[in-house]
Symmetry: C2
Subunit: 368 residues, 2 copies
């Protein structure tokens, strides 16, 4: 059976499409591979821009060449022109369109695995782009350190900066606007203090307090090339409690222990569990009670590239050995509603000689 390959999505949403085409659009367009041709099919609105930005080797077609703007017509005409029986598509291909294509007698087969498995293994140029986004994250983080150092502590233990309450929103603005100067998009920067920090995805809101950990998870995306950086630091303005100090040491040691285990052939589950053992050595256990999960209840890390979360995953569920060329975060954390959260995240590149290189340069410290 002759099957082509097909993606329909927007470049902004689909890292696969951006990887395949070399550019990004707000609206959906079609990428296909058939009979040795890799091409994109663009509307009038995007045709000229696609011509300017498409990767070498990607042919740019106007939808007029395949029967107009109706996507089903275009797909039928591609199949006809290259004598295809159907297409292999990414797992998230839209169902309604798939059913319609099938209704025309063509096969549509969703890929079980990654559509471009090679995305997991970064070229030097990709590593360089990720590093640039990471440097922007570090610049944002340094700006946050600066703001926190300049801040005063009120008699109610709230933070004040330039005479106004220092909120999560204000700190985020200082981080994000710094990153924007580096050409980054920032859409979910976490600045979560105290209890909010105990919910790993709580972005944080309201005034920040002294003596409590502030989790800053900073993940900018390059507006130009779409590659992400990812960085987390946790700091306290003022005096951390002894449990926070101990948790910080535990998380830092867990991260450094895990980083040393990243090597070709290493098992992600083993690396995750090694981090868990360090946390337990310090007395921090993971579990669940009436108020939810506590301890360390997320994966240790994930690949970073054109997606912020991509292959490979470092988790207790994953046993497929690591290979050269991956770029992964290592980000253990501890979360307890009683005192908040601590998370420390670096990025490691397993280079083509098999050496693990930490791409993150910014320092670690607890008290800012």
């Amino acid at each position: 059976m002759a099957l082509g390959r097909l993606i329909i999505d927007s470049g902004e949403r689909s890292a696969n499409l951006r990887y395949a085409s070399g550019f990004s659009t707000p609206d959906d367009f079609i990428w296909f591979e058939a009979g040795g041709v890799r091409g994109v099919v663009m509307s009038s609105l995007e045709y000229n821009r696609a011509k300017s930005f498409a990767s070498p080797g990607v042919a740019v077609f106007s939808d007029d060449e395949f029967g107009g703007p109706n996507r089903l017509d275009v797909i039928k005409n591609i199949a006809k022109q290259w004598y295809l029986d159907g297409f292999i598509v990414p797992e998230n291909f839209p169902l309604l369109l798939a059913d319609k294509i099938r209704g025309c007698g063509l096969t549509v087969q969703a890929e079980e695995k990654n559509f471009f498995p090679e995305r997991e293994f970064k070229t030097e140029s990709e590593v360089e782009k990720i590093t640039r986004s990471l440097r922007a994250a570090e610049a944002g983080c340094r700006r946050a350190f600066e703001v926190l150092r300049e801040a005063d502590i009120s008699s109610e233990k709230t933070l004040l900066w330039n005479g106004v309450p220092l909120t999560s929103e204000l700190l985020r603005f200082e981080i994000d606007s710094t990153m924007m100067k580096h050409g980054m998009l920032a859409t979910g920067t976490i600045c979560a203090g105290g209890f909010q920090g105990s919910q790993p995805h709580n972005t944080g809101s309201g005034v920040l307090y002294a003596d409590m950990p502030i989790v800053m998870d900073i993940f900018p995306r390059s507006a130009e090339n779409g590659y992400w950086g990812d960085l987390t630091r946790t700091v306290v303005k003022g005096k951390p409690s002894s449990v926070v100090k101990k948790a910080y040491e535990a998380v830092l040691e867990a991260r450094e222990t895990a980083k040393k285990l990243i090597a070709p052939g290493a098992n992600p589950k083993d690396i995750h569990n090694a981090a868990v053992r360090v946390l337990e050595k310090y007395g921090f256990y993971t579990g669940k009670n009436e108020s939810g999960d506590y301890g360390f209840f997320h994966g240790l890390g994930h690949g970073v590239g054109l997606d912020i979360h991509e292959a490979p995953r470092l988790s207790y569920r994953v046993t497929e050995p690591l290979s050269k060329g991956i770029v992964v975060t290592v980000e253990p954390g501890l979360y307890y509603p009683e005192w908040g959260g601590i998370r420390l995240e670096d990025i490691v590149y397993l280079d083509n000689s098999g050496k693990a290189r930490c791409l993150t340069e910014i320092e670690d410290f607890l008290i800012v």
Copy 2:
């Protein structure tokens, strides 16, 4: 046949999911409706946050209650518990999972139309949220006017601001950082001068020039509530050519003419064509030559809400009459590679009394 309703997506990507659940997450989660229950199924990581932020009437379940983190298990268990034969899903439901659910003997039927048709008709509270995002866009735009007024013109006709070249990137930074102070995310602001402005989706790069139109299309999204604003203004620093002046007048008259036609029962195709006729009256025709499309070659407008582009569309392809409650952009434009582009965009709300209210307040002018 007993069918539930099912969405699997991330709140950041899926406006339907955000509409249904009331919150947003970076990772995928499940929303369902079955036997009168509307619920979300969350991982440990998001459970507590979902509890805090879910809309009234949305039950928050942990994935443990449906057999653990495997999505297929959760879906099978939901079907079992509510005696369902399957699910109706949004048109973009992921194909691989749909095929697997079907493989378990359950029906999966992709909705042809909008999954929540009621999203097209805004409540006063939604209009208020869109207006707030629009006000942030206007604040960003005013900042751009200010920067352009402060700019100097070099002997090579490039713009200088505070002694440095004024680029698209720098102008965008000034707009976006202003909007961020209003709690907005800005991810694709267009500041496109000269030839770049003739490509409607070119975001613009490099130094800006005097005497040429600069298209600024500004569409922030509220970080808090997810509603978008949308605004376009086009200005010239210096002296516009006579064709640019005429094109500006034509686009402005086309927009105002179209806005007056927005009413309950009006036909989008007729409104679009009325705008085209105004442009033609000024001598601006639409067509295609060897360098691509020229004239007015995109739709007149689109609904705005939790998606930046949503129902209803104002286009020559759409004949379904407009209803009360819609919020739509009206944004005619003219694009010619020889001199660039002009686009002017307002937002109109067709309120429940049937009156069209322009939500956009910022002024129109060509020479800044």
